[in-house]
Each structure stands twice: as structure tokens, then as C-alpha cells.
């Protein structure tokens, strides 16, 4: 090969290897676009993962709603809907790890890792597409809740704020789920592996009753449970800080601060673990 041709080729290789902020954003967009196209190609996934929480909403609103009373001049229905939303989006977030395990199994992750793309593009792209998917699912669930009688009590800003908190909590759980997906590697095992730690946390939180009304032994668990604060924040935003304080004895600002700390911790720890797993392959 002539020196000229060799030089030209090295120039091309150097150009392809170089990373700029614009390229990183472009890579993330390509990966996210690919994930969203997959979601779009399997609409059943969105439909069924929305129907299941819908049935739960109906159960809580029409059955428990008629026998449970929460006090504070608020319907149990309105109390429980933000919690069902947080829980549903948390479970929907688990799909992230399953998708990653499939990518690992099919060799797609090796393919991405052998390309000259930003190392962060795969995981960040996954987070971007998951956020959009979770946002869409929350909007569908909120619309369904409004149809069966749920009402916001804190204005439009509160409603928007609640949806943002629900999606943010979902994003935090996608990082946990992504780590499990990369660690467990088998798509069929990922589902139970993320479900088993999260399900008891949902039950031992303020989801279905205020912490003060939970059995005594459960209260300390509920008080350190991150899901309690995600739900209390969502609830405070949907129903107003006054209602939250009356039924749960916690200020919205306190709930939000604790939620924010937990969020940073969960996202920080599991992103670091997932990135490490992704890099070592």
C-alpha cells in the first residue's frame, strides 16, 4: 500500500474515532431512536403494560375506594391514584433491564461496544427512550384515572409536577433495572430479579395507607423506604401540600427533599454499577 493511501486511511480512522459533544448527542439520539422503533414495532408491550395497572386502578378505586376511608376530607380514590401511578411506572421501568438483557444475549451490546461511539451512548440512549416511553404511559394512566373519577386538587402545575415526579422515579428505577439486566444477562431471569426486591418495598410504603396507619412493625420500614417519599411527593403535588400533611403528617417540602436525596443516590449508584458492567462486558 502506498504511503499516501495509508495516510488517507489513517486520517479517516482518526476522524471516525474522534468524539465531540455533538457526536455524543447524535449517538444517544441514534440509540434512543432505535429503542423507540422497537417499542413502536411491538405495540402490544405498551398496551398490556398499561392495561395491567388500569385493572389495578379499577380495583383500588371502585372496591377499596368504597370501603376505605382516609379522613382529611379526601376520597380514598384520590389518595390512592398517585400511588398506583408511581407503582405502575416503577414496574414499567423494569422493562429496561429486560431489553438490555436481550441486547446482551443477541450480541447487540458487543456490536455497540465495538463501534467508535461514545461509551455512554448505549445507556444514556436507553434512559432517553425509556423516559419517553414512561412519560407516554403515565399520560395514558392519568387520562384513565380521570375517566374513572380521580381529580387533581392542586391545579395544573401540581398535576404536571406529579407526572414529572412519577416519571423521574421511573427513570431512577430504570438505572437499577439496567444494572440487573447487565448483571443477570438472562432476559427471563431479569423480570423476577427486579420484581422481587421492589414489590415488598411497594407494600411497605405509604402507597395504600398513611404510614401512621400501617402495622407498628412496618412503620420503621416505611419511614426509610424511598417509595414512601416518591409517593408522598406525588401525592402532595396532586392533592396539595395541605391535604398531604393532614393525611400523612409530612410536609411536601420534606417529602420532596428526601425523595431528591434518594433519587440522586439510586441513580448515582446504579448508573455507576451499570456503566462498569457495560465497560467490562
Amino acid at each position: 500500500m502506498s504511503t499516501v493511501a495509508a495516510d488517507a486511511r489513517h486520517t479517516i480512522i482518526e476522524q471516525r474515532a474522534a468524539l465531540s459533544p455533538r457526536r455524543v448527542v447524535g449517538d444517544i439520539a441514534l440509540v434512543a431512536g432505535r429503542n423507540l422503533r422497537k417499542v413502536q414495532r411491538s405495540p402490544g408491550l405498551i398496551v398490556f403494560s398499561t392495561i395491567q395497572p388500569l385493572m389495578q386502578l379499577v380495583l383500588f378505586v371502585f372496591i377499596f375506594g368504597s370501603i376505605a376511608s382516609i379522613g382529611g376530607g379526601i376520597a380514598y380514590r384520590d389518595f390512592v391514584v398517585p400511588a398506583v401511578l408511581v407503582q405502575s411506572i416503577a414496574f414499567a421501568a423494569m422493562g429496561s433491564g429486560v431489553g438490555i438483557a436481550y441486547d446482551l444475549q443477541s450480541g447487540m451490546i458487543d456490536r455497540f461496544r465495538s463501534l467508535p461511539i461514545a461509551r455512554s451512548a448505549f445507556l444514556v440512549g436507553r434512559t432517553v427512550s425509556d423516559s419517553l416511553r414512561l412519560g407516554l404511559q403515565s399520560l395514558l394512566l392519568v387520562a384513565a384515572s380521570l375517566v374513572i373519577g380521580f381529580r387533581f386538587h392542586n391545579g395544573l402545575a401540581g398535576a404536571v409536577g406529579m407526572i414529572v415526579v412519577v416519571v423521574l422515579f421511573g427513570i431512577a428505577l430504570t438505572t437499577f433495572s439496567a444494572f440487573v439486566g447487565l448483571a443477570v444477562k438472562d432476559p427471563e431471569t431479569v423480570q423476577p430479579a427486579v420484581f422481587i426486591p421492589v414489590l415488598p418495598l411497594v407494600f411497605t410504603s405509604s402507597a395504600f395507607a398513611p404510614v401512621s396507619k400501617l402495622p407498628g412493625w412496618m412503620q420503621p420500614i416505611a419511614k426509610i423506604n424511598p417509595i414512601t417519599y416518591a409517593i408522598d411527593t406525588a401525592r402532595g403535588l396532586a392533592l396539595g401540600p395541605g391535604v398531604l400533611y393532614k393525611v400523612s403528617g409530612i410536609h411536601l417540602s420534606t417529602a420532596f427533599a428526601i425523595f431528591a436525596v434518594y433519587w440522586v443516590l439510586i441513580v448515582g449508584v446504579f448508573t455507576a454499577l451499570a456503566v462498569h458492567r457495560y465497560r467490562v462486558g
Binding site: R37, Q105, S114, D186
Partner: protein, 335 residues
């Protein structure tokens, strides 16, 4: 050594207490197809994963297209194409979408990626299926698409890790055809295989690897010669003349009659020779001169299976019971 191509020098890799590579060295000159031939667990995939920056080595050095795999991984990634043991294609995307995605992630413009994708789909006989979702593709189609994805940005070096493992014979032949075409175009290719026939067909240079060590190197012919020379396989017309022919040829090649195998019933004689094709000519002359009539005469070379057996004492295509499979992808089902 050569600026381009692949240079591997004393590569070591351990998985826990299992040593997958014990200081492996080999060179792939620019424009050459080199086959890494060895059984399961020999370290082939580990070597490819290190060369394609998917795995960090524990010792030794390696460079691809002039770039160090440890210190310049990003340049290496920009220079290579990788087709692994499992077709790494997205089942939910169409063939075309898969190629365009990989092309754009390798920095091709959208237009150029689309143009290249169309070219490759055509060249690999996938045009009809181009806009169908990959889920419905056959195994052979997936491998061809995977190979097309590795080629979309015209890489300087192409790694093919057991490209035909698990394919039916027809799909295998088809893929050989495609790889043969790339070889003829002068692509630099590192190919791993556990099939003798595949190495013989595709590789210009073969490194035999076993238990994490390179145990022999050379062209297929050189390796075959290493095992011993060729065998002259003679069938005489009159069975009764077999021993006469055997004595004559032993004399011609200066070997003792004890080295010649005679089958009186078939009238066949097997004579080990070192001179290759010229031995054939000598044999014909001698037999003709003595007035012995020949029914069939051929020169048989030892197969690569013979080579592997004589080098390692076991066959390449049988997994060795004493060597655990290194599992770089832990927990992953091997199909």
C-alpha cells in the same frame, strides 16, 4: 512490523484461575486472510474479543491497523468490522435499518449509509428481504446481514469469529463464497474456525491454536507437509502385478519395501513420497518403462484433520473434555 494489518505479541488472558491465552503471537499482514484454527476452548474467541477491544488483555501487546488495542481503543474501533459467533443484528429492525444504524454509528452520513446499505444488501443477496423485519430471516440470512453490517464502513481489518458455526451446509457454502470474494478483493481478515475445511478454503495463512497457545503456523500446504509428505495412491490393472509395481516404485524413490503398503486384493499400492507432484511424474515414467499397466494413480495430500491430529493428538472438532470453555460471556447460552 507492518503498520497496518494485525500484530499480536505475547497476548495473555486469564479468567480466574483458567488461563485462556498463554502468550499468543501472530501477525496478519495487510491484505491477507489469516485463519485461527482450533477446537472449542482453544482461545480463539478470547483473542478476537481482545483484538476488537471488547476485552482487556492481562499481558502482551496487540495492534490493529497500526493502533494499540489497549491505549487507542477508539481508533481500533474506527478501523475494524466484527462479526461474532452470534449474528448481532436487531430482530425488530429491518435488514436495511440495521445496516444504516451501524453505518451512522460508524460516522457515515445518512445518505452515504443508505447508499452503502443498498449496495451491500444487493451484494449479499438480501435485497428482497431488505425492508422486512429481521425476526423472519433464516440463520444464513442473519449471518450475511451481520457480515454486511461489519463491512458497511469499509473497515481496514475484518474479524470473523466462527462465521459459519451453526449454519446448514448450503448457507455455509454461500457464506464461504462471500468471504472468498472479500479475500480476492484484498481485505485484511482474521478468521477463527474449528473447521479444517473452512480454514483450508478461506485462509491464506493458518495459525493452529490449542489450549491458549499457537502450536503451528503456515499455509495449509506447509502444515500438511509438516505432518509428512504426500501419499502416492496407485491401482494396477492386473492385481498380480501389485507387488512388482511396489518393488519398482520403492526402488525409484529409494525407500525400503517395508514402507510401502500393498493391498493384493484391490491391486492397490500406497507409497509415501516427499517430492509431491514430481513424484507423480517419476512414478508414471517408471511404471511405463517396466510395462506395468496403471488403472489409477493419484497423489493424496494429508488433510488438515490429519495435521491437527498429529499436532495435538486430538481432533479439532471435538471439544476436549479436559479444557473448560472460557466463558467471557458468563451465563450466556451457547446455541
Amino acid at each position: 512490523m507492518s503498520e497496518s494489518g494485525v500484530v499480536v505479541d505475547g497476548l495473555v488472558k486469564r479468567f480466574g484461575s483458567f488461563v485462556a491465552l498463554h502468550g499468543v503471537s501472530f501477525v496478519v499482514p495487510e491484505g491477507m486472510v489469516v485463519g485461527l484454527l482450533g477446537p472449542n476452548g482453544a482461545g480463539k474467541t478470547t483473542a478476537i474479543r481482545i483484538l476488537s477491544t471488547l476485552l482487556a488483555p492481562d499481558g502482551g501487546r496487540a495492534s490493529v491497523a497500526g493502533y494499540d488495542v489497549v491505549t487507542q481503543p477508539q481508533q481500533v474501533r474506527a478501523a475494524i468490522g466484527l462479526t461474532g459467533q452470534f449474528a448481532a443484528v436487531d430482530e425488530d429492525l429491518t435488514g436495511r435499518e440495521n445496516l444504516v444504524l451501524v453505518g451512522r454509528l460508524t460516522r457515515l452520513s445518512k445518505e452515504f449509509a443508505q447508499e452503502r446499505a443498498a449496495e451491500l444488501l444487493d451484494a449479499f443477496d438480501l435485497s428482497d428481504a431488505a425492508d422486512r423485519v429481521v425476526r423472519g430471516y433464516s440463520g444464513g440470512m442473519r449471518r450475511r446481514l451481520d457480515l454486511a453490517a461489519s463491512l458497511i464502513a469499509s473497515p481496514a481489518v475484518l474479524f470473523l469469529d466462527e462465521p459459519t458455526t451453526g449454519l446448514d451446509p448450503r448457507s455455509r457454502l454461500r457464506l464461504w463464497e462471500v468471504i472468498g470474494r472479500l479475500r480476492d478483493e484484498g481485505k485484511t481478515i482474521v478468521l477463527t474456525t474449528q473447521y479444517m475445511e473452512e480454514a483450508d478454503q478461506l485462509a491464506e495463512q493458518i495459525s493452529v491454536i490449542d489450549g491458549g497457545r499457537i502450536i503451528a503456523e503456515g499455509t495449509a500446504d506447509q502444515l500438511k507437509t509438516k505432518v509428512g509428505g504426500d501419499v502416492l495412491d496407485l491401482r494396477v490393472h492386473e492385481r498380480a502385478e501389485a507387488s512388482a509395481a511396489a518393488a519398482l516404485l520403492a526402488d525409484t524413490f529409494g525407500i525400503s519395501t517395508a514402507e510401502v503398503t500393498i493391498d493384493d486384493e484391490l491391486g492397490s499400492v500406497l507409497i509415501p513420497v516427499t517430492a509431491g507432484a514430481s513424484a507423480l511424474v517419476d512414478a508414471v515414467r517408471a511404471l511405463d518403462g517396466a510395462g506395468l499397466r496403471v488403472a489409477d494413480l493419484g497423489l493424496r495430500r494429508p488433510s488438515l484433520d490429519d495435521v491437527f491430529l498429529s499436532l495435538t493428538g486430538h481432533l479439532a472438532e471435538e471439544p476436549r473434555p479436559d479444557a473448560p470453555e472460557p466463558r467471557p460471556r458468563r451465563g450466556r447460552p451457547r446455541i
